[in-house]
Amino acid sequence: MKYRLNICHLYPDLMDTYGDKGNIITIRQRCAWRNIDTTLTKISVGDKLKTDEFDIFFFGGGQDKAQEIVGKDLKSKKSTLTGSIENGAVLLSICGGYQLLQKYFKTIDGTVIDGIGLFDAYTVGSNTRMIQNLLIEINPDLQKEIDKAYQNTKYKIQNTNLVGFENHSGKTYLGKNLKPLGKVIKGSGNNGEDKTEGAIFKNAFGCYLHGSLLPKNPHFADYLITKALERRFGKISKAFLRIKLKPLDDSIEWQAHQSAIKKML
């Protein structure tokens, strides 16, 4: 059986400031190395989003002005997008994309920009820009799931972290029941105060990790691919993982992961 995943890049013409397309390149390439086909569709202002067409959504960061334009258009896609996530679709959102999926963004001068409320969280503009390498320890519940999807331990490198680069002035606060993606080890994360970074809602993830994130965090990349396959083709067995999602040689990726961490400590 030939496996195929449909990927949707949301607003690539407006939200593509920080090299985040590396995440899409990584997902597609890691699929291709396992003979899994992928399609990539770009959806932007004015385009129609159909229900359940996509297995993976990607939503990157942009400039404030672009974020305004996108914020307006996103309202028309709200029900389809939240419906897809309720049905288990995978979504990775970073920085500006992550903010627009929350309840609202209050800018420094008090203007409130509505989000679509997929994440029970909100962001408040601040005067300090949080710009640095960011290292987090993955949420333990998620880590257990990642360990099932990514079983390669031959690198002797701790695979319980994510590393990237943050560049934001908005401070994000999570609602009581929303799980963070991880705990900040080094850097600011969501708000620089409560040590949380990012958010998890079903298979939707938000975070401030540029870098690009997925190339040098291959365990998280493979986890997202696994979740997308599961949704499309049903519960995945261990044998399937071993055969279909066979481990790749990720030594270069893990070296990149390590060299980013080394720069911080």
């Binding site: 090299g19 404030d64 990149a256 390590q258």
Partner: protein, 459 residues
């Protein structure tokens, strides 16, 4: 006598002497110290330049444009220029101190200043320039500059205060640059490329502007040359590309990395044949020609100087070691790196060494390598090596662009990577080194140790 100014100059000169004796290439320190004593030093000294000052700024091409402009204007004027210096205020101050006697007499016709994007407003305030050249604005070191829109807003604010006898020289093909004329009284002239397309290999452009800065509608491009540079128009409010008085057409980029074009200056058309590659250098040439013709240099002289120009430090710089050619081309942001990649894609069997550092001057965020389309070079490369502090990130980028790379091709130490890459070359082969900014400084040191060329600050 202005005691504050005199002591500032004196301190600057002493610092400079000490640095020289210790063999250091640091060019900003004298200005940095002197400005602490007299913060108005630049204002006071630059006022004495007879014909006033010209400022050149933009994300890409500042150094090359400034050097070419210097070459052309020097045919008629005595120019003071921050050639070796940094392009921040301290670098401008250093240059002024170096050229001023202790009592602050300045004997120059014109000041020519390359200015960092984030320093433009302060430079305008200190130099009260006669002319300002703005080349382009692209995403670059977002960890330092913040958003491109923020930089542009700051520019807009300070340009709106210019008196109306200031001359603005703007790139008409960058909608984010031509837009700046709207909010200011200064006299504006435009330069641009009038061809409908170029003969360079295609690349996926990373544009920072896709929507009209005036009304947020999607811009329509009749021609798109590079990033967001091209022939654009807003279908909604009608904002479009102003007609340039200085333009180039019939661009021809040759595989030996030389170029030719027709250059039109005030209705006079000249054929230029010059030894610089790539589209980005066409814009540098246009900007330099526009300024020079405004200072009454004849088209004939401009043409001669363009044809005879050899490049600035690290920007297509050629060196020879053991009958092997080494070409160094600085890369520092997606727009610039994509143009370098496109230029190199004209050739086959490339021997490449890419060096990625993440120091403050490089940008600490290396995400930009994912906005750069290395894929275009995959089938054009014979040998490829990576080095630098973030060599593993670069290696990962190349792996996902499907280059074949072994661990032996990945170096941390820049000097080893250079020595080994040169070693591997056959006689008469060429090594192309693509370093980020702080890596470039190390490349220059390594090359001069191996016997190729001068130290960079003596250039």
């Amino acid at each position: 006598m202005d005691i504050r100014l005199t002591s500032a100059i004196l301190l600057g000169k002493i610092t400079s002497l000490i640095l020289k004796l210790s063999g250091s290439g640091a060019t900003a320190a004298p200005g940095l110290f002197a400005l602490k004593i007299d913060p108005n030093l630049i204002k006071k000294l630059s006022r004495k330049i007879k014909g006033g000052s010209v400022i050149i700024s933009g994300t890409n091409g500042k150094t090359t444009t400034a050097r070419l402009t210097f070459d052309i204007l020097s045919s008629k004027y005595k120019i003071i220029h921050n050639r070796q210096g940094s392009n921040l205020l301290r670098g401008i101050a250093s240059t002024l101190i170096q050229k001023a006697p202790v009592f602050g007499k300045i004997d120059f016709d014109l000041g020519l200043w390359e200015v960092d994007e984030a320093t433009l407003s302060a430079a305008i305030e200190n130099l009260s320039p006669k002319k300002i050249v703005l080349l382009n604005l692209f995403r670059d070191q977002l960890d330092r500059y913040g958003e491109v829109d923020t930089v542009r807003r700051n520019w807009q604010k300070s340009l709106s205060k210019l008196p109306k006898d200031t001359g603005l020289v703007l790139n008409t093909d960058d909608p984010g640059i031509s837009f700046l004329a709207k909010s200011c009284k200064a006299k504006t002239i435009y330069f641009g490329v009038n061809d409908a397309q170029t003969n360079l290999p295609a690349i996926d452009h990373v544009a920072d502007i896709k929507y009209c800065l005036n009304c947020n509608s999607k811009l329509i491009y009749k021609s798109l040359f590079s990033a967001h540079l091209g022939h654009y128009k807003c279908p909604n409010c009608g904002l479009g590309r102003p007609t340039p008085v200085i333009f180039a057409k019939n661009l021809n980029f040759k595989t030996n990395l030389t170029s030719s074009a027709l250059l039109s200056i005030d209705h006079k058309v000249l054929t230029i044949n010059y030894s610089l590659p790539g589209l980005y250098n066409v814009y540098n040439i246009l900007a330099a020609s526009a300024v020079s013709s405004n200072f009454d240099i004849s088209p004939q002289i401009i043409k001669e100087k363009i044809n005879g120009f050899s490049t600035a430090f690290g920007r297509f710089q050629k060196t020879e070691i053991d009958r092997k050619q080494i070409i160094t081309m600085l890369i520092k942001n997606p727009a610039g790196a994509n143009e370098v990649i496109r230029t190199l894609a004209q050739k086959d069997n490339l021997n490449l060494l890419i060096i990625l550092n993440d120091n403050i001057a490089d940008g600490r965020d290396v995400s930009w390598i994912w906005d750069t389309q290395w894929e275009v070079l995959k089938d054009k490369v014979k040998n490829i090596t990576v080095a630098g502090i973030r060599s593993w990130d670069m290696a990962t980028r190349l792996k996902y662009a499907k280059f074949k790379l072994s661990k032996n091709d990945i170096y941390k130490e820049i000097s080893y990577s250079i020595a080994d890459s040169i070693d591997k070359l056959n006689k008469n082969d060429t090594l192309i080194i693509l370093p980020t900014y702080t890596a470039l400084l190390e490349v220059q040191k390594s090359l001069s140790r191996l016997g190729g060329g001068k130290k960079w600050h003596e250039n």
